[in-house]
């Protein structure tokens, strides 16, 4: 790929700061070098009803190294969650995001924490991107007090309201009208902020999506619908579920952009473009062409409806972390060893956090009755045996 960059000095400085404790937010600057670098995305954007943004993306060493570290962390986290699930420390449903990290990371690079993000149940990495901690993730997955939802939500129900992350939703497609609602509130309050409502190729056929899109377009809401097209809705390939799998065009009168979702820089560019568009012109659809290595969930092997060759092929050719690694190495921003050290560090951080999370206690039984309402009015609530267990809702 063509590149052009300016350097003020001939020596590079890469500061590897000591890792902070895992209870603090993820923002850990690895390199402080913010010299601009321009990178060409390898896959051009395809547009619908709008002019595509340029393929030349502005970035810098600090950003690239942050991408690398953040994606390596997300990758490690999801793989560790797989093991924890098999060890029965995580129960119920567990939908893993490994392969799709570039979407979470590229999006964050283009927006602020005042912009809103809402997604479905494949939400662990999106939560981390919004500033959630590893401890909150693992503790929640294991149903412990230190979890982001105090153990009461589980894998599909992570939230971080103070960073405008609105979950975490189990019903396919429901998060899209909710996201348009967030955008409605943003416009109402004249915030100059936008909402990214993420959904999959399976959810793309949900009627409620089109209802919400119609309203958003009518009312010029700053809603950005992001289809994370990993090509399979559980076990159903996109061509078996959608008459038109060109999801970026499905908005009809709403403009759309198709993006290489395995390229964090392309994602960043598209999200930046979308934010500017949405603030001026209302809704826009982004289709991220991405891929999940795992099956739909931990109860799906992921290999009955796709070939192992396909999975390994994507891993070879398009892995988002390898992309960034090659970019960093080719620009000489870090050595192979330094990158491997980052991966080792990340692995240790994940392992240490899991140990810490395992020590977090299960919720107190009284937590069964907390947060049913924001304002309980003193009504009574009951356990399974209403004469044995009852509580007053404050």
């Amino acid at each position: 790929m063509a590149l052009s960059y300016l350097r003020s000095s001939s020596s590079r400085s890469v500061n590897l700061l000591k890792p902070l404790s895992s209870s603090l937010p993820l923002r850990r600057p690895i390199s402080t070098d913010t010299t601009p670098i321009t990178v060409e995305t390898s896959v051009p954007f395809t547009s619908h009803q709008c002019d595509a943004p340029s393929c030349s993306v502005e970035t810098n060493p600090k950003e690239l190294l942050t991408f690398f570290r953040d994606m390596a962390l997300m990758r490690r986290m999801e793989i560790a969650a797989d093991s924890l699930y098999k060890a029965k420390l995580i129960r119920g449903f567990c939908h893993l995001y490994d392969g799709q990290e570039a979407v979470a990371v590229g999006m964050e690079a283009a927006i602020t924490k005042k912009d809103c993000i809402i997604t479905a149940y494949r939400d662990h990495c999106t939560f981390i991107g919004r500033g959630g901690t590893l401890l909150e993730v693992f503790a929640e997955l294991m149903g412990r007090q230190a979890g982001c939802s105090k153990g009461k939500g589980g894998s599909m129900h992570f939230y971080k309201k103070d960073s405008n992350f609105y979950g975490g939703h189990g019903i396919v497609g429901a998060q899209v009208p909710l996201g348009c609602g967030l955008a409605f509130a943003q416009k109402y309050s004249k915030d100059e902020t936008v909402t990214f409502a993420l959904y999959g190729d399976g959810a793309a056929n949900q009627g409620q999506l089109f209802e919400a899109l119609n309203i958003s377009a009518l009312w010029d809401l700053p809603a950005i619908l992001v289809c994370e097209n990993n090509h399979y809705g559980m076990g159903t390939a996109e061509w078996r579920a959608a008459k038109s799998p060109a999801y970026y065009k499905r908005g009809d009168y709403v403009p759309g952009l198709k993006v290489d979702g395995m390229d964090a820089l392309a994602v960043k560019q598209a999200c930046k473009f979308a934010k500017e568009h949405a603030l001026k012109n209302g809704p826009i659809i982004l289709e991220m062409d991405t891929y999940r290595y795992h099956g739909h969930s931990m109860s799906d092997p992921g290999s009955t409806y796709r070939t192992r060759d396909e999975i390994s092929g994507v891993r070879q050719e398009r892995d988002p972390i390898e992309r960034i690694r090659k970019l960093i190495l080719s620009h000489d921003l870090a050595t192979e060893k330094e990158l491997k050290d980052i991966e080792k560090e990340v692995r240790k951080e994940v392992d240490d956090t899991i140990t810490q999370a395992k020590e977090s206690p299960m919720p107190e039984p009284s937590e069964l009755f907390t947060n049913v309402y924001a304002k309980g009015l003193g009504v009574e609530s009951f356990g399974a045996d209403r004469k044995e267990v009852r509580a007053t809702l404050p």
């Binding site: 119920g92 009461k152 599909m156 019903i171 159903t236 009951f382």
Partner: protein, 367 residues
């Protein structure tokens, strides 16, 4: 049990003492067992074979062999015209299925769980349940909506709700809740053959459970009547009504109570709408005490309706207030310990039964 149970003899005549309870026990090695999953699969298979108008529609029912493998092998056997994989669009495909039922077909719609049926509930209620009435009998809707209902294990608030009370409150619907493999086969066949819309509430945790089945149950003509409960265990001292997974809990509770000298009668409701009020009331008139057990939320639940029915029809026979055991009145928490508190346990039923039985002890003696 319907009909005569035929038992295969092994070439020797065995002297058996048959228990009064109508639970099949066989000491020969030809005792047949069947999981609920296989019971449902075989019922679907047989009904599709018998009637060309029956077809199956839902998410992952075809190529994936069913999200819970209930429809395994059916696509291969009946082809893509009769086993249809749908996109994730419940409102859309439920509406399409009801329309097909209007025009003479017999759809079986699978919801991956009944939580997702809420997306389609308008079609279930307004398009299916009420049509025969609104058209004065022209438009009967021979459709079955089936799938897992209620809590599974650790699936959280949006995936754990029991919909029995909601659907059963609607006239025009029939609501069935199988427990055993015999229930699964007999009730699903009955549902598919029935000319009215049936909501068929299965339970994910029961799919893998194995029950013994007689040859009669295995026969392809086997069918259970809709609207009749089954007395799983005859007793004298207290009546416990339950449906679906709670039947198993009630039976276990009965075993524990027996050790304390309390002989519980366990009723497997099988049918929530129509509710078998006569069986329930006859039982309460015999035992004078009632515990209702269900997984769903307590307020306006199945137990509330049963209690009202008994108070209306058998008030003089009650020696103790009716006890309700139900899911906790909170959204389902994820953490394992909280989830255990939110779902009825065997000890909850035992405790309630004991309360109902000791109620006649004078208060002075209790102090």
């Amino acid at each position: 049990m319907l009909g005569v149970v035929r038992k295969k003899m092994l070439g020797q005549s065995l002297l058996k003492i048959r228990p009064a309870v109508s639970v099949l026990r066989s000491y020969s090695s030809s005792a047949k067992h069947m999981t609920v999953r296989d019971a449902l699969n075989s019922a679907l298979d047989e009904e599709m074979s018998a009637d060309q108008k029956v077809f199956l529609m839902g998410e992952e029912v075809g190529e994936y062999q069913g999200a819970y493998k209930i429809s395994k092998g059916l696509l291969e056997k009946y082809g893509p015209e009769r086993v249809l994989d749908t996109p994730i669009t419940e409102a859309g495909f439920a509406g399409i299925a009801v329309g097909a039922a209007y025009h003479g077909l017999k759809p079986v719609v699978e919801f991956m769980t009944f939580n997702f049926s809420m997306q389609a509930i308008d079609h279930i209620i307004n398009s299916a349940a009420k049509s025969n009435y609104m058209s004065a009998g022209q438009m009967s809707v021979p459709i079955v909506f089936r799938g897992p209902n209620g809590a599974a294990a650790g699936v959280g608030a949006q995936h754990s709700q029991c919909y029995a009370a909601w659907y059963a409150s609607c006239p025009g619907l029939k609501v069935l809740t199988p427990y055993s493999s015999e229930d699964a086969r007999g009730l699903l066949k009955a549902a598919i053959r029935d000319p009215d819309p049936v909501v068929f509430l299965e339970n994910e945790l029961l799919y893998g459970e194995s029950f013994s089945v007689s040859d009669e149950v295995l026969d392809s003509s086997f069918c259970l009547p809709i609207g009749k409960a089954k007395i799983e265990r005859v007793g004298r001292d207290v009546t416990i009504t339950a449906f679906s997974k709670m039947v198993g809990h009630a039976l276990k509770a009965a075993e524990i109570l027996e050790k304390d000298g309390i002989d519980a009668e366990v009723i497997n409701l099988r049918s929530i709408r129509p509710l078998d009020r006569s069986t329930i009331n006859a039982s309460v008139r015999k035992t004078n005490r009632l515990i209702t057990a269900e997984e769903g939320f307590p307020q306006h639940g199945v137990g509330a309706e049963i209690c009202a029915s008994v108070v209306e029809e058998s008030f003089a026979y009650l020696d103790a207030p009716v006890e309700r055991i139900a899911g906790a009145d909170v959204p389902m928490p994820y953490a394992a310990n909280l989830e255990r508190l939110a779902v009825p346990q065997v000890e909850d039923i035992v405790r309630a039964a004991k309360r109902a039985c000791y109620r006649s002890v004078p208060l002075a003696a209790a102090a």
